[in-house]
Every structure is written in C-alpha cells, then in structure tokens.
Amino acid sequence: MTRLSRRNFIRIGGAAVAGATLGLPHIARATGGNVVIVGGGVGGATTARYLKLANPDISVTVVEPKSSYHTCFMSNEVLGGERTLEGIEVGYDGLKSMGITMVQDRASGIDPDARTVTTAGGETLNFDRCVVAPGISFVTDGIEGYDEAAQEKIPHAWQAGPQTALLRSQLEAMEDGGLVVIIAPPNPFRCPPGPYERASMIAHYLKAEKPKSKVMILDPKEKFSKQGLFMQAWKDLYGHGTDNSMIEWNTFSKVGAINKLDAAAMTVETDFESFDPAVINYIPPQKAGKIALDADLADDSGWCPVDKMTFESSKHAGVHVIGDAAIATAMPKSGYSANSQGKVTAAAIVAALAGKEMPQPSYVNTCYSIAGTDYGFSVAAVYRYKADDNTIAGVEGAGGLTPVDASPEQRKREVAFAHSWYNNIRKDTWG
C-alpha cells in the first residue's frame, strides 16, 4: 500500500509540475538585462549566483575590491585555534565559472538616475538593476584614543581577514594569567551572538593553553542573543558562576560606559573603572557599508530602508540593498539572512526584468554557535512578508532555540551541523 502510494505520489506530482512548466516558458529567458552587484560577500555572491541560475542571459557583474573573501562566520573558530585563516577563505572562481564578471575594484559611486556604478579605477558600469551588498562600516569616533590607527593594536576582527589574524596572534602572544577584554557593540550589529561565541572560543583556547587567563565582556546591552544558552555553556565549560570563571560578562550599567581606550598602554577606562588587559577587542558600533552611505541609500539610523518584498531601496528605485546594510525588520544581520535575502532579491530582479509580478517571498535564518568542544547550539526562524505593514515577520510557532536542557549528544551534533552548515552555505553562496 505504502509503496503504491509513493509511486502514485511521484506520478501525480510529476505530472502536475510538468504541466506547470509547459505553461510557463522559462520566466526570464526572454529578457536579458544588466545587473551590477556591489560587494562579493554573502549577499552579493548569492544574488549573483541565483540570478545566473534563474536566467543565464542576464549579464551579472560583481564589483569587489578583494580577490578573495574571508567569511565572518567560523572566524571565531580561527581565534579558538580550531580552524586556520585559510580555512575561512573563499575565492571567486565559482562565480566566474558561471559567466559572472568580477570587477576587482572598489565601487566609488552609484548614480541611480543615470543607472551607473563607477569604480575607483575609473570604470563606469551600466545597470538595469543594481544590488548593493556592502556589509557594515564602523563608527570610529566618540571614544577617546580610538581611531583607524588604533586598530593596528586594538583589532575589531568584525570583518574577517587580517584583523582576525592579528587578534589570534595577540592571543598567542599573551602570557598565562592575562585578561582579554571584548567590548561588544550596541544593537543593531552584524552577528548578534558573535561577541559571545567569540568569548567562548577565546576561553576554549585559553582553557587549554593559558588556564589562569580570563575573558571579560563589556557590554552596552542588558541582554544578548542566545543568552540563556551561552550562560549555560559558560557554566558547563568555563566555571561561570564560580570564583574561577574564565568568562565574565559586565554591562555598562555595572562598570560604566567606555570613555577611553589607550592602544599604547593597552588600557580600557570606563566611567567607573580601569582595566589593564593583555588583549583588547573593541567591536565598534556599526552602520551600513560606506558605499551605501555615500550613495544616499541609508536613513538617519545609518542603515538602508527597503521594500521588504524585493529589497528595492525605499530611497532610489532600481537599486536593491541586502544583507547587513539593509533594514530587514525581524531578520538579524547574519550570513544566513544575507544568503536568504540574496535569493529573494534575485527572484525580484528576474521578475522585474521580465515585466512579471514578484512571487511571494520566503526567507529563513539559521545560526549556529559553537561554545566549546562538542558544544554547539542554534537558533532558527522562518519568515514571511507582510504587505500590510511592509515587514518581514517570523512565522508564529516556528523556529526558536536549542533547548537549554539538550543532551550532550545533541550539543555534539549541533557542532557537526554547524560545520555542515558552513560547508553548504559556502558552496551555495560562492559555488
């Protein structure tokens, strides 16, 4: 019975789909069009790939200054010593092999009226549609002693690459018994659980190599993503709640806001206290990537308002903004969000170029955190577009966190799934 039922299912299902396909000449094959994508990170690369997959006749150009990209996700494993910097590096051959043009240059201007992107090298690229996926930039003023130059000694490592290597080398060079201070950013920022996973991964390294050392998080926020799960992990793995805790979490309300960083003396001064760490990891407040700000795509918040169904800019028609730079309501600024938004944007552009209606979008976010050996957990959400108030809202009853009382086997599996996710999203994004 079951066998018959399954075979019938396939026959019926197959016929239905074939019928739909016949009635529908490939949606965008009839039309080509020029799409210029600014940024070769997760959002930009995913959009490029899914545009080409949907319609190879669309001309897709990606403007990206770097010749390879270091994923921010899993960069905390580099800090923890579980992965090399090369292990989070991905090249652009996968995009090129699909016929996507890579322009290895920095985008210096976007003209939404003339529909051109100009590059620092002096090129002018015409577009029918532009996708701006520039990630984040940092607010570097406001704290005494902190500027671009100070980053040579106080890395943020919030864009993976040389700063990740620098922070790792500082951890390697510090003596046992030293203090690592992580200063977390205010909301909203890239990768909400990131600072806390970072604290965990650094503690993981120190526990094995420099067990008298300590990690202290100074946080402008009163709560953070996956807080219960992190706190449980720190208790299980790093003595949280005891006198010998390797991780301490202090909010500004307790220790005061940061008012001075001294890169030469390596000191942190808050309103009430002074710290003398071996390593300072200051993760500054964030806003949309510079090109989005320069191109008048951001509002007063520093982030870019968009139509949540198509990610087309609310300020300039024909230009889409996705990933960390966009205001995507309930979706966090994560790699998976950017990947999911890239697919929605590709579908929106394919439809727009063909003069068709945009299909109903669907978005997902999953996010894994690894807190130590065989200790992982996750959060997930499925989102739908709500036209009445132009929001992206989580589907009620779906998604959520790993249970706090998950078994050790479950936590171990979540690490395996985190690594699975890494391999697969890389492949899905860059080919």
Binding site: M1, A380, V382, D428
Partner: protein
C-alpha cells in the same frame, strides 16, 4: 493510523495539482521555498557534509512524510523540527516535489575502510537490500542512502537502534514494514554489533 497518513497525503497531492494547474507562479514559489533550504543542505539540496543529509533527488513522498514528522515532533532532530513548523502541507509538498526533481549529488569522497566496506556489503545484502534497493542508490520508495555523509548515517542509525527515532510512530509505513525494519535493525545489533553498524555506514559512505 496508517490510513490517515496516506489519506492526508493524497488530499495534499490533490490540492497541489489544482494549484499547479492554474497558477504559473506555483513553480516559482516552489523554488523560492526550496532555495531557502540550500543554505544548510547545499546547492540543489546536495550536501557537502558532514551532518546534514543530501535532500536533492529524494523520493518526494518520503521527504514530505519526513518533514511532516519533524513538524509534528514525531521524528527527532537538532534544528529541523523548529524549521518544519514554519510550513503548511501544501508548501512542504512543493518543496518535496522540487527536491525530488534535483539530482542526488554524491560530491564528497569519504574516507572509508575497504574491509569495513566489504563487511558492510554482506550485511547490506542480508538485511537492508529489500528496502534500500540497488545498493542504496534507489530512491523510489525509500530514501537513497548511498553516498550520504557517514556522520549523518551514523546519527540516523543510532537514533533508530536506540528507539529515539521510533519506527512504531511512523504512520507512513505499514505495520508489516515497521516490523520488518525493527527486526532487521535488532538483528544488525545482536549479530553484528557496533562494528557491524560501522561497516554498514562505511558501505553506504563508499558510494559515489
């Protein structure tokens, strides 16, 4: 129990036929829904491992049943139960049909032990072949196991053996099928032991 499962599947298929028949947007919606899965399961549902299964090329009915079982909390998982709750029967049907049309990619050369592969092949011939036909390559009635990542196979086999993934609760299987699968799993453990389980995993993992 079983009748209910089949009936609800049949109704959902009928719903799908009517939707797909009238609306060209339905297929687009299928790819829109299915593409969100690729972040974890790989492009076109082909996983580059280690723990998430390849879902491209999966028998559509099996995938639909599996997703419903996740959604209803009848099958254990790390994260899928939480995600499956975000989709209706009709959406799951579209997703399952979409992935059934994709190729089953066997893209990662897994590190297998030839002796374990040979022993696994013998065990497969005795205990697994009736359902997982063609050395586990077939996806006609049951999931294709050949070429799935070994950590994934390890999780699933151990969940089945421990009863954490409870075949008794699988409404899609006839009681005869359930009995047979449970009997064969028991025989695997009783006569071949943990090494035999590992051997079966190596056998399927050796396929590419």
């Amino acid at each position: 129990m079983k009748a209910r499962g089949i009936l609800s599947s049949a109704l959902a298929v009928m719903a799908l036929v009517s939707v797909a028949g009238q609306a060209p947007a339905a297929e687009l919606e299928a790819s829109m829904l299915a593409n969100t899965c690729n972040g974890c399961h790989g492009p076109n549902g082909t996983s580059y491992g280690p723990a998430a299964p390849t879902i491209g090329g999966t028998n559509a009915a099996y995938m639909f049943e599996t997703m419903v079982a996740f959604r209803e909390g009848e099958r254990p998982s790390t994260i899928m139960q939480r995600i499956a709750k975000g989709y209706s029967d009709e959406e799951l049907k579209l997703i399952a049909d979409y992935f059934a049309k994709q190729p089953f990619g066997r893209v990662v050369d897994q590190n297998t032990d030839p002796d374990l592969v040979a022993r696994g092949k013998q065990i497969y011939d005795n205990l697994c072949e009736d359902c997982h036909e063609d050395e586990g390559m077939s996806a006609i009635d049951y999931p294709a196991l050949a070429g799935q990542m070994m950590p994934y196979l390890d999780h699933q086999l151990h969940d089945l053996i421990s009863g954490r993934r409870d075949l008794e609760k699988n409404e899609a299987l006839s009681s005869k099928e359930r009995r047979k699968k449970m009997r064969n799993l028991k025989e695997l453990v009783d006569t071949e032991g943990e090494d035999g389980v590992t051997a079966v995993i190596h056998f399927f993992g050796s396929k590419n």
